[in-house]
Symmetry: C2
Amino acid sequence: MKRFGQVIGIKPEHVEEYTRLHADVWPGVLAKIHECNMRNYSIFRYHDMLFAYFEYIGDDYEGDMAKIAADETTQAWWAVCGPMQNPVEDRAEGEWWKTIEQVFHTD
Amino acid sequence: MKRFGQVIGIKPEHVEEYTRLHADVWPGVLAKIHECNMRNYSIFRYHDMLFAYFEYIGDDYEGDMAKIAADETTQAWWAVCGPMQNPVEDRAEGEWWKTIEQVFHTD
């Protein structure tokens, strides 16, 4: 299992709507996340920054992420949520959320 | 169980040392964290911000946090790490790391 931390910006005028949407994410989006081996996935907010934490239990992260990106329901969900977000400038090519460095872990 | 997200600043000149220290945290610090019901605790860094994620499995969060704060080894650890950090201005009274809002979770 590999732990991921990620960041993305959130536009201040969309915080309320984004929070409301994420209290009740579409079942198809959640099912695809699970099918693609993401577990224990949380998103937190601090002002205009979102911080995600999840655990990846598969053995083909890029393949699974591509599978999520190819899913029609997920694409429709992203069409709703994407415009509310501000991806950080220094994200890697192909990233939307930027994966950040883990500096500590204890069980 | 309750999930926590937290943020704190890190002084750019101390990033390297902070990262090195957190690759090998003192056993007494880790033991106290565990004793006080914190689990699956990770810290990530994005530039000059640290994001923490952990799961609290006890039933007296404030009491457990007070127990950690009263621990001599932890106090010595904080004396080393604290000056490397920049707590955010809008943290709650008594906080060092600021607890932030959770907006999403899926298992």
